[in-house]
Every structure is written in structure tokens, then in C-alpha cells.
């Protein structure tokens, strides 16, 4: 198992009431899986994503990443882990304003130890932006890019440190359907290339691109099932699996 959660709970206190956002969750995600996390709002799917991706700490339980127990990591270790092993794609893109696409993509490289002006980092970021089809938009700031383009910059940023898992939180939630299709296509391709993706969504058609769907309700897993794809996609994925 690449990622494994054992009896993970997350509780919040709002005033006197204790909210149990995650209730004793235990599940595992294997390498190269593409998991869609679904469920109504308040079901705990977003909390699951935050806890599993090291953005938030669990209240109890253990999390293992590549066999390593990471739930007891301190703040600095967690920061390094997020930097090197995890890529984030947010619903609202979260790009730095007034900062070029290239510099946005370079940001995780900076925290990985590249210099602020490293030409190697610049070259890497450029290659990554070309890969998401923005080779001609390197110096545009977020304000000069469409939503779909901004999300592609965010995906390039998520990929730049070659992470083990990509976490995507409603990646198409703020996009029109055409841009949404583009992002879905990119995510599908990334998975076919062997990236493990865990994606939160409430849209069925977006969830349909994943290979496995986990439905949350009241902080618990309601269902966990494989998705049946059109044969072409499945066979292609199988072929890739065979190669690696």
C-alpha cells in the first residue's frame, strides 16, 4: 500500500459541540490508483483529503506513506513531506497573484532547495508548463490566464517535484465545462503515466474518470467500489501497468 490510514479520526470543537468529521477511517490506496472521493457536503470527504495529504493533523489514528508512519511527524517533517511527496490541486487554484506562471510553478522547487533564480529550476518549470500545454504562457500572471489555464498552472506546480501522490480538491469545481474537460483529460493522462491521484469531487461525471470511488457519509466510508471504464481506457492502463 502506498497510502494507508488506520483508525483515523478528526474532530473539531466549535464552542461546546464536538464535530466528528472523520470517524475511525481505515483504508488503503495502492500505487497508480486513481481514487475519487465523493459524498454530500459535511460528509468528511474534504477533511479526509486534508488529513491524508498532511495539510491537517489527525486527532487520532495512524497514517502510513510508503510504509513510513507519518502521522506523528512534526511540523517541519510534514512541510518537507508535502513539498517532496505530495502535489496539490485546489478548487480555487491558489496561485500567487501578480506572479508569472513560470514563477508559480517554480515555488515548490524553491522550498525543495533550488535557488530563487536557479536556471535549472526555471528549465524544469518550463518543461512542466509545456507538458500541460502552456509553453506559450510562461510569463503570464494568473490575472492574464483563463480559469482552465490557471488550473493547468496549478497542476504543473503539483507535478514539479515529482510527487508520490497528487491530491485534487474539486479540481473542476470553478471551471466551465470545456475547461473542466481539459483538466479531466490531463488528470486521466497523468494517471495513465503512473501517477497516483486522490480526487475529491461531488460531480458524477468527474468521478467517472477515476478507477475507484469511495463515498463518504457522516465521517465514515459508505461505499468503496471499482469503476468500470470503457475498454479502451482500461486496456491502455493495463498496458502501462505491465510495462512498469
Amino acid at each position: 500500500m502506498l497510502l494507508e490510514l488506520k483508525h483515523v479520526s478528526k474532530t473539531y470543537e466549535i464552542g461546546d459541540t464536538v464535530i466528528r468529521a472523520l470517524d475511525e477511517i481505515s483504508l488503503g490506496v495502492a500505487e497508480k490508483e486513481f481514487v475519487a472521493i465523493m459524498g454530500p457536503s459535511g460528509s468528511g470527504k474534504s477533511t479526509f483529503l486534508q488529513v491524508a495529504s498532511m495539510l491537517a493533523e489527525p486527532s487520532s489514528g495512524e497514517i502510513f506513506l510508503s510504509g513510513q508512519e507519518v502521522s506523528s511527524y512534526n511540523e517541519i517533517q510534514r512541510a518537507h513531506l508535502r513539498n517532496k511527496q505530495i502535489g496539490f490541486v485546489f478548487q480555487s487554484f491558489n496561485l500567487l497573484a501578480r506572479t508569472s506562471a513560470l514563477e508559480n510553478v517554480m515555488l515548490p522547487l524553491f522550498y525543495a532547495g533550488y535557488g530563487a533564480d536557479s536556471s535549472e529550476a526555471r528549465e524544469k518549470a518550463k518543461v512542466m508548463l509545456e507538458r500541460v500545454g502552456l509553453g506559450n504562457r510562461l510569463n503570464n500572471t494568473p490575472a492574464q490566464l483563463s480559469g482552465g489555464q490557471q488550473q493547468r498552472v496549478a497542476i504543473a506546480r503539483a507535478l514539479i517535484n515529482d510527487p508520490t501522490i497528487i491530491f485534487a480538491d474539486e479540481p473542476t469545481g470553478n471551471l466551465d465545462s470545456k475547461s473542466g474537460e481539459d483538466i479531466k483529460q490531463i488528470l486521466r493522462e497523468l494517471n495513465q503515466e503512473g501517477k497516483t491521484i486522490i480526487m475529491v469531487t461531488h460531480e458524477d461525471d468527474v468521478a467517472a474518470i477515476a478507477k475507484r470511488q469511495i463515498v463518504f457519509r457522516d465521517g465514515k466510508v459508505l461505499s468503496d467500489s471499482a469503476v468500470h471504464h470503457k475498454s479502451s481506457t482500461t486496456s491502455k492502463a493495463k498496458k502501462q501497468k505491465g510495462r512498469s
Partner: protein, 404 residues
């Protein structure tokens, strides 16, 4: 990851947000600029007055009627005004003091002040007549720039001659050389013997350059008054100011009661004036301190607003792998760059301001003011740049990302 590389990042961040950076700096600029400029005015004033007194010589003793320093050491007062209108001091006392104390006192002069209307050609001016003896030239080191001083003989014979201060000479005669011209004082003709070199003088108050200098006996004879303003004595040795004061008092007390006259030197006068100027400097310093506080609050405000706005940015940076220390370091460097740069701009403005004031006012930028203003602004800038960032860096990435 080196500090230099974080510094580059901080610099980029400043350049990417020029208006925010400028507003942040503005507080520092105003704080430093106003404090340095205001204190430069106070200290400049003090230095100027001290210099003026030093240029008049510090081996001078004055004898005036009554007690001009009053009971509280202040200058002036009603009693002094009344005393000075009574003819108490007499030329004969002055002569006696000189005769009795040749060993201590080198020379001296009696002074009297009158006003008159001076006229040359079409030019008419109200002027102050400063009546003195010819020894005034050496006692007060006021040589004639043009022409010559009157002699002892001319003074004693009450000749109708005058010397002019530089400014009044220009005002009455313009481009014409006044030497040997006749000027009318209250309608009577006087020959101008010479023009004195520039001496300067108080702000708005009487200036030596505006006086018309007249032989003492001449003014006694033609202005119908024997009222003497003061005796001025030049002491041979500065170290003997105290002895000389006592000696003069001893001679004078033969003619007058102790409380009818006062002997004082310039240090006494200077002390009084400096205490007034000191108050002025403290007052200006107070204004400066208020500007520093206002500037500081400005810095705090904009820094707080900036960090609130940047909490989401901090969340994102944390999500992407920034450790809290790196975030703090970046904000520390940004705040330091802005504070120092703003401080330097403020200093530059204050310096240019003091230069611009120079023709009218002897403003003087002091190191203490620079250090104080720069130090306080920088510390305020750093503390309020970093403190909110510290708070934001402690939030979990997800809390910071959702911050609004």
C-alpha cells in the same frame, strides 16, 4: 536554503507588490523624515544663537540698570522695563570703573539707544541710533568695512558724524557709496564716516546691521537725553571674569545701591537664552516624537493589513512545503528591506529639507536624531512586519488558506 536566496524571494515579493510596498515604506518615510527635520530646526537654532554669542566675544562684561534677569532667572520683566527708563548709569561711573581697574579691564564703552527717522534722498527709514564710544570698534571687533571709525576727539567734541550698519546703508543708499555723504536724522544733517562689516543679529529682533552708530556725546547733545543703556567692558583675561565682575561691582556700589544695577557676563546671558531655546528644542522634539508615533502606527497598520491579506499566501507556501521558519525569514527580510529603505528615503528628504531651509534658517541635522528616528522606525517596522507573520505562520496550512 540560504538566507541570500530567501532574500531574493523577499525582494521579488516587494517588487511584485509595488503599491503595497510603497505604502508600507511611507510610514517609515514620514516618521524618520519629520523627526530628523524637526529636531534639526531646534538644534540648528540653538547652535546659531551660541555661535552668535561666541562671535561677540566671551570676555565681555555688561553693566545694566536694575536686574534684567529677574528673580526667577528669566529675562526682562516689568521691573527691568521701569528701571531702564530712569537715568541711573552715568558716564562718570564708567570712567571711574576704568580708572580703578586698569589691571583687569582693557577697555570699554558706554552705550545708549535712541530712535530717529533717517533720510537720504527720497529714502526715509525709522532707525535705531546706537550711541557708543570709539572704543566700541575694538571691544566688539566691528571694524569699518568702508570709510573709517570716528576718533576719541570727534566723540568727545560731539561731532555730527555717524557710521552705518551694512543693511541700513544698503537700504538708505542703495548702490551709492555712503561714505562722506550727508544723512538726515530727525531733520539734522550728519556725515557718514563709514559702513561696518556684516555682524548678523537675532531673528526678527534688532540686528547690528540695522543700527546707525553715533558718538555718545553727539547723542547726548542733539537728542536731549543722558539716558545710558549699559556699560560694556572688555576684560583682559577671560579667566578673570569673576574678579572683574566683583571689581566693577565694588566701584559701582560707591555711586549706586546694590539693587540699582547688575553686572553680568555672556555666559549668564547665554544660559538664560539657552534655557529658552532648550525648551523650544524639547517642544520640537515632542512634536517629532508624536510624528514618530503616528508614523509607527502607520507602519503597524499597513503591515497588519498586508499580512492579513497575505495569510492565504502564507497558507499556500506552507502547503507547498515552506517551514514556519522560512516564512518568518521571508517576512523579516521584507520588513527589514522596507524599513531600512523607507528610513533612508526619510533621511534623504529630511536632509534635502534642511538644505532647502538653509538660506532662511540654520537647520542642522544631528546624528542623535538620525539614529533615534531610524532606530525606532526600523524596530517598529520589523516588529509589526514579523509579529502578524508569526501568527499566520503558526496556523495550519488549511486554516491559513481559508483565511478571509
Amino acid at each position: 536554503m540560504t538566507v541570500a536566496s530567501v532574500a531574493k524571494l523577499a525582494f521579488k515579493s516587494i517588487m511584485l507588490n509595488k503599491s503595497r510596498s510603497f505604502l508600507t515604506m511611507l510610514g517609515v518615510i514620514i516618521g524618520v523624515g519629520s523627526v530628523v527635520l524637526l529636531t534639526s530646526i531646534g538644534t540648528g537654532l540653538q547652535a546659531y544663537v551660541t555661535d552668535q554669542f561666541a562671535s561677540l566675544g566671551s570676555n565681555i562684561l555688561y553693566v545694566v540698570p536694575g536686574n534684567p534677569f529677574g528673580e526667577n532667572g528669566g529675562f526682562g520683566g516689568e521691573q527691568a522695563m521701569i528701571e531702564s527708563t530712569r537715568p541711573i548709569l552715568k558716564r562718570s561711573y564708567f570712567n571711574q570703573v576704568l580708572r580703578n581697574n586698569r589691571d583687569l579691564i582693557k577697555d570699554g564703552t558706554v552705550t545708549a539707544i535712541n530712535v530717529a527717522e533717517a533720510k537720504y534722498g527720497k529714502e526715509t527709514k525709522k532707525v535705531t541710533l546706537y550711541s557708543i564710544m570709539s572704543s566700541y570698534e575694538t571691544v566688539y571687533s566691528s571694524p569699518a568695512e568702508k570709510g573709517r571709525w570716528f576718533t576719541d576727539a570727534e566723540e568727545e567734541k560731539a561731532e555730527r558724524v555717524v557710521l552705518l550698519g551694512k543693511k541700513i546703508a544698503e537700504e538708505l543708499f542703495g548702490q551709492v557709496d555712503p561714505v562722506n555723504k550727508r544723512v538726515l536724522l530727525n531733520g539734522q544733517g550728519y556725515t557718514v564716516l563709514g559702513v561696518l562689516g556684516e555682524k548678523g543679529g537675532g531673528f526678527g529682533g534688532p540686528s547690528f546691521d540695522n543700527y546707525v552708530y553715533m558718538p555718545l556725546e553727539t547723542s547726548f547733545k542733539y537728542f536731549d537725553t543722558e539716558l545710558v543703556d549699559s556699560f560694556i567692558f572688555e576684560v583682559r583675561d577671560k579667566e578673570q571674569i569673576k574678579e572683574s565682575t566683583l571689581a566693577i561691582e565694588k566701584t559701582m556700589s560707591k555711586y549706586l545701591d546694590e539693587d540699582e544695577f547688575t553686572v553680568f557676563d555672556q555666559t549668564q546671558l547665554l544660559t538664560t537664552i539657552n534655557s529658552i531655546l532648550g525648551m523650544l528644542t524639547v517642544g520640537l522634539g515632542g512634536i517629532a516624537a508624536i510624528s514618530l508615533v503616528v508614523g509607527g502606527i502607520g507602519i503597524m497598520n499597513i503591515m497588519l493589513v498586508a499580512v492579513t491579506e497575505r495569510t492565504r499566501e502564507i497558507g499556500l507556501r506552507k502547503a507547498l512545503g515552506a517551514t514556519p521558519n522560512l516564512i518568518l525569514l521571508q517576512f523579516l527580510i521584507e520588513a527589514a528591506l522596507l524599513s531600512v529603505l523607507g528610513g533612508l528615503i526619510g533621511l534623504l528628504i529630511a536632509y534635502l529639507g534642511s538644505l532647502a531651509l538653509q538660506p532662511y534658517f540654520p537647520a542642522k541635522v544631528t546624528l542623535e536624531a538620525v539614529i533615534l528616528a531610524f532606530g525606532v522606525s526600523t524596530v517598529v517596522g520589523l516588529v509589526f512586519g514579523v509579529a502578524p507573520a508569526r501568527r499566520a505562520a503558526k496556523l495550519s496550512p488549511i486554516e491559513a488558506l481559508r483565511y478571509e
